[in-house]
């Protein structure tokens, strides 16, 4: 018979507030197998854990039940406590009497009675627990970073510097991401290209890093330490290793009318192109949708012109299979589409642009070589209006816009306003804001400089409507402090659009079985304590794919994700999950139902000799579970009619014991 200890936690007043913890401890004292019952204010604290360790030694306990918060919170803690006291860590069961009892029931009697039932359920389960040993599985010493923006670049560099191989998969022809499109960066106003391109070159020259540009991940199999990923390298029709990036072909290509997505369509590029000068890899790419040679077979100018004859029209998409120990999602963000915001007339007038488009206009490598002009008539704008929170901070029920604050718009708008006033002192700049949020080192000082030294007019009040009249834009907004309605003319309006995760994030999450929140940002394992890990072991989050953030925060989170990956790859062996399936060979029919439902292919079959009737030997086909591959989902246990297949830690008898305890 088991010797079980029950420990009821008060969790300060979180549990004790609506559950009579003493009565629970008292009631569970005379449950079958219980030899010791105690309660304490903070069971997970140092003192609480000591109390458990002493009780284990003193009463020679063979199993413990902790009635406390959710097992997802402290199951690990109490398992380590048991292990420290010499008890097998899997002889611990947690009854969740906080999130699923005290916090949701006001009436003490009801809460206490439920807590007792939940305690009784855990005791019934621990009575049938058996000590389990975690198996081990090897770790592939290579990491995969999905996304080549600053987040992906920084993570890859940090991991590679620790000596591990890293592959970066980037959908665009070059790494660099959104940061490559920026002009200056806040709060120090140093030029984005100057601080990014050296890192891009480091990545290109780092012997441990391999870049798969113009590629995407199409399939992920396996689990932490043993991922198998299929990468689709889209046909570029240019031989990467031969092309020197001289750009001759990009000048001679006759197809000139291709909207240049790097400049957000504000100018055109050729069918064969290099996104920007400092592109890494500096290799041309042919756009199959526009290249007449690929569409009709009649052209071939780039092939004739190319001195290194690196052009190959017959190139096909390539599928590469590779093994990885860890995967980092760094898919980045995009501004949301402005189509639905017709009150700002984004689609009616070319002079209403988003901040990213403004960034390209200010950028020396941009469509207008850095001259700030109105996209409609190319004239220099005398009056510019910046509109904040466009699409951010909207109600959940509003069908357009996002609920969250996009965090970076106040700072980059202050930057834009300051740069405009600095370069064109005669231009009048007005910013309509709800509140300016500048939480960061030197952030507020930066915003004050924009307002005080550069004379940017900050008006507290949202813009209600923008209507193009003639070549001017009529801006109607409210000035809450002066309690006036402002109707002013503007030559250029810049909308600070909300940002959302990249479209490739949702399919990627499905492949990685990583969970996402309702806005398609990756959900972190714990919002405060584990922000760079996904709940799926072996998957890490870096940059805006986890939530809106600026460059300083992205780089620090990229470093954190890299540290977690290095921590994982440094291990030679990974402690597996001991709660895996196990087949009882005496009862197994060998019918392959379990093998068919196993998502990981962890079940194989062998013919084994058994003692048959009157000294004959019987050969029977029985199932074998590879404990290193099995992840313990339990699907096979239900597919198996005879119950031969069972799951350690969640055995059928244990679950039925829990059902009985609940329904008694």
């Amino acid at each position: 018979m088991q010797r079980i200890g029950v420990f009821v936690c008060w969790c300060g007043s979180n549990i004790a507030g609506t559950v009579d913890v003493k009565a629970v401890a008292e009631a569970l004292k005379n449950e079958p197998g219980v030899v010791h019952s105690a309660n304490y204010q903070y069971m997970c604290s140092q003192a609480g854990q000591e109390l458990i360790k002493d009780a284990i030694k003193e009463h020679k306990l063979t199993g413990i039940v902790v009635c406390s918060c959710s097992p997802r919170m402290h199951e690990g803690t109490f398992r380590k406590t048991a292990e420290a006291a010499g008890l097998n860590p899997y002889m611990v069961e947690i009854a969740n009497i906080r999130e699923q009892c005290s916090w949701i029931h006001k009436d003490i009697a009801e809460g206490t009675e439920k807590a007792i039932v939940l305690g009784r359920t855990a005791i019934a389960k621990v009575n049938l627990n058996a000590p389990l040993m975690a198996g081990e599985s090897p770790v592939t010493k290579r990491a995969l970073v999905i996304g080549g923006g600053i987040a992906g670049i920084q993570t890859a560099l940090d991991i590679a510097d620790a000596g591990f191989e890293v592959d970066i998969v980037e959908t665009k022809p070059t790494i660099g991401g959104k940061m490559a499109q920026l002009d200056k960066t806040f709060p120090t106003l140093d030029c984005a290209a100057c601080i990014l391109t050296p890192k891009m070159v480091d990545v290109a020259q780092h012997e441990k890093i391999k870049i798969y540009s113009y590629s995407e991940v199409v399939d992920v199999r396996g689990f932490v330490g043993n991922f198998e990923v299929t990468i689709k390298k889209r046909a570029r029709f240019v031989k990467e290793d031969i092309c020197t990036g001289c750009g001759l072909c990009t000048e001679k290509c006759p197809q000139k009318k291709v909207p240049n997505e790097f400049n957000l369509g504000m100018d055109n590029r050729r069918a064969i192109y290099i996104p920007f000068a400092q592109a890494v890899p500096k290799v041309a790419t042919i756009d199959p949708n526009y290249c007449t040679m690929l569409k009709t077979g009649k052209c071939g100018v780039c092939a004739k012109v190319c001195t290194a004859n690196a052009i190959d029209y017959t190139q096909k998409d390539e599928f590469i299979d590779q093994k990885y120990g860890a995967i980092v999602a760094a898919t980045g963000f995009n501004p949301i589409s402005m189509e639905k915001f017709d009150e700002f007339a984004y689609s009616q007038s070319k002079d209403v642009i988003t901040s990213l488009e403004f960034e390209r206009l200010m950028n020396a490598a941009g469509p207008t070589a850095g001259k700030l002009v109105r996209p409609s008539d190319g004239k220099h704008p005398q009056k510019i209006v910046f509109v904040q929170c466009v699409g951010s901070r909207c109600a959940a029920c509003a069908e357009k816009g996002k609920e969250y604050c996009s965090k970076i718009c106040c700072m980059y708008t202050a930057k834009h306003a300051m740069l405009t006033r600095d370069k064109y002192p005669d231009t009048d700049v007005t910013v309509f804001y709800i509140d300016v949020r500048t939480p960061g080192k030197n952030f507020d000082e930066f915003y004050r400089r924009a307002a005080e030294e550069y004379g940017v007019h900050y008006i507290k009040g949202m813009v209600g409507k923008i209507s193009p009249e003639g070549d001017k834009l009529m801006v109607r907004a409210s000035d809450l402090l002066a309690n006036k309605q402002i109707n002013m003319e503007a030559d250029l309006v810049v909308l600070a659009a909300a940002i959302e995760p990249d479209k490739s994030a949702r399919p990627l999450a499905t492949m990685l079985t990583a969970s996402m929140d309702t806005n398609d940002f990756f959900t972190e394992a714990h919002p405060k304590l584990r922000p760079v890990e996904s709940p799926t072991a072996g998957v890490f989050l870096s940059g805006c794919c986890q939530g809106p953030k600026d460059i300083p925060e992205t780089v620090s989170q990229a470093g954190a994700a890299a540290a977690k990956v290095i921590g994982l790859l440094a291990k030679d062996k990974l402690k597996g999950n001991p709660c895996v399936a196990h087949s009882d060979e005496m009862m197994c029919n060998g019918c392959s139902s379990c093998e068919k439902v196993c998502p990981y292919g962890a079940i194989t079959y062998e013919d084994k000799e058994f003692r048959g009737p009157n000294r004959t030997t019987l050969i029977r086909r029985i199932a074998k579970v590879n404990e290193a591959i099995c992840q313990g989902c339990g699907c096979c246990t239900v597919a198996c009619p005879s119950g031969a297949m069972d799951l350690k830690g969640f055995a059928s008898k244990q679950i039925m014991a829990e059902v009985d305890a609940i329904c008694k």
């Binding site: 068919k596 086909r621 009619p641 119950g643 031969a644 039925m656």
Partner: protein, 329 residues
């Protein structure tokens, strides 16, 4: 009356026994009553001459016996398989329950088997002998002489709605192969589905409470070939030999139907052998009807190695809430 008479089968068996292809053969043996036919293994031709029979009462499906029989002896065992038996044979092969090299299957066309309960329903208990002539059954009763009844009126339910006369597996076929028939075997299920919940509950409570848990249905079912059944296994948690009330029968029958769901070939043996005459096939047919309507038509055992619906999925399967409402259209 079966077109193939017993001499043809005996000669075939004898031929195979003598040329050493097989050293024993499964066949039907005449029991005390003419409707009481039991499966037996024959080793020699004269044993067969004495007891072998093939008439309108040979419903027994030998596929399940092969699981144990092929383990006893290395050489081949001969087996006569009616069309519906061959589906069970294929399903057992799919589940690797025996090695087909150890079996020599002889396909036997079948013209439908008779249900003795129906004959008793006509003539009561006093029956001394039953013989069949053409498409008529001649019943020699103790008190009121010789009676005749049309064979079609006393066919077994599964033969009235015979789903296929086609042998899906045989090493050798006697006579020609038949066709898959489109039978209206689901009418009974539809009739039940159209009832209200209370009527259905009353129907099943009345039927299942007759159950004496003799486990004949499980022991004859070719899909129920577990080494150790959960209901017999003391540490399975659901072990219960004799139920204390009608729920435990329901639990036994629901779980058994669930275990064979997607694997049951609808051979109807469970209803044939049930001493209490419970229409157990209606449970399995409900699962087959649901699988057909939810996931596309699937006939277990039609094709060896096919993937059972419950070990498969598509991303667009319907939700359980929709399934429950769709069930009673």
């Amino acid at each position: 009356m079966q077109k193939i008479n017993r001499e043809v089968l005996i000669n075939k068996a004898n031929e195979l026994l003598s040329n050493g292809t097989i050293n024993r053969v499964f066949g039907w043996e005449k029991g005390d009553f003419s409707y009481d036919v039991t499966p037996t293994i024959y080793f020699t031709a004269d044993q067969m001459n004495k007891k072998f029979i093939f008439d309108d009462f040979c419903g027994a499906n030998f596929s399940k016996y092969l699981v144990a029989e092929t383990k006893k002896d290395q050489n081949k065992v001969g087996v006569f398989l009616k069309p519906c038996d061959t589906y069970s044979f294929n399903q057992l092969l799919t589940e690797h329950r025996f090695d087909k090299e150890k079996v020599y299957a002889i396909g036997v066309p079948c013209d439908g088997m008779v249900d003795e309960k129906k004959i008793k329903a006509f003539f009561g208990e006093g029956i001394s002998s039953i013989t069949s002539e053409g498409d008529e059954i001649i019943v020699d009763t103790l008190y009121d002489g010789v009676k005749k009844v049309k064979k079609a009126d006393v066919l077994q339910e599964r033969c009235q709605n015979c789903k296929s006369k086609k042998h899906v597996y045989y090493d050798e076929l006697i006579g020609e192969d038949g066709e898959v028939l489109d039978s209206n075997r689901f009418d009974e299920v539809e009739k039940l589905e159209k009832m209200t919940a209370d009527e259905r509950f009353a129907f099943w409570q009345n039927e299942l409470s007759k159950c004496i848990r003799c486990n004949a249905c499980r022991d004859v079912c070719p899909a129920c070939t577990c080494e150790k059944c959960v209901f017999n296994n003391p540490n399975s948690g659901v072990e219960n030999k004799s139920p204390a009330n009608e729920f435990e029968e329901k639990m036994f029958h629901i779980i058994r139907a669930f275990h064979v769901a997607g694997r049951c070939t609808d051979c109807g043996e469970c209803s044939r052998v049930c001493p209490q005459g419970i229409p157990l096939h209606l449970l399995n047919r409900k699962f087959i009807k649901d699988i057909n309507s939810f996931y596309g038509n699937y006939q277990a055992g039609e094709q060896e190695g096919s993937r059972a619906p419950l070990t498969n999925y598509t991303k667009e399967d319907l939700e359980p809430s929709e399934a429950v409402n769709k069930g009673d259209n």
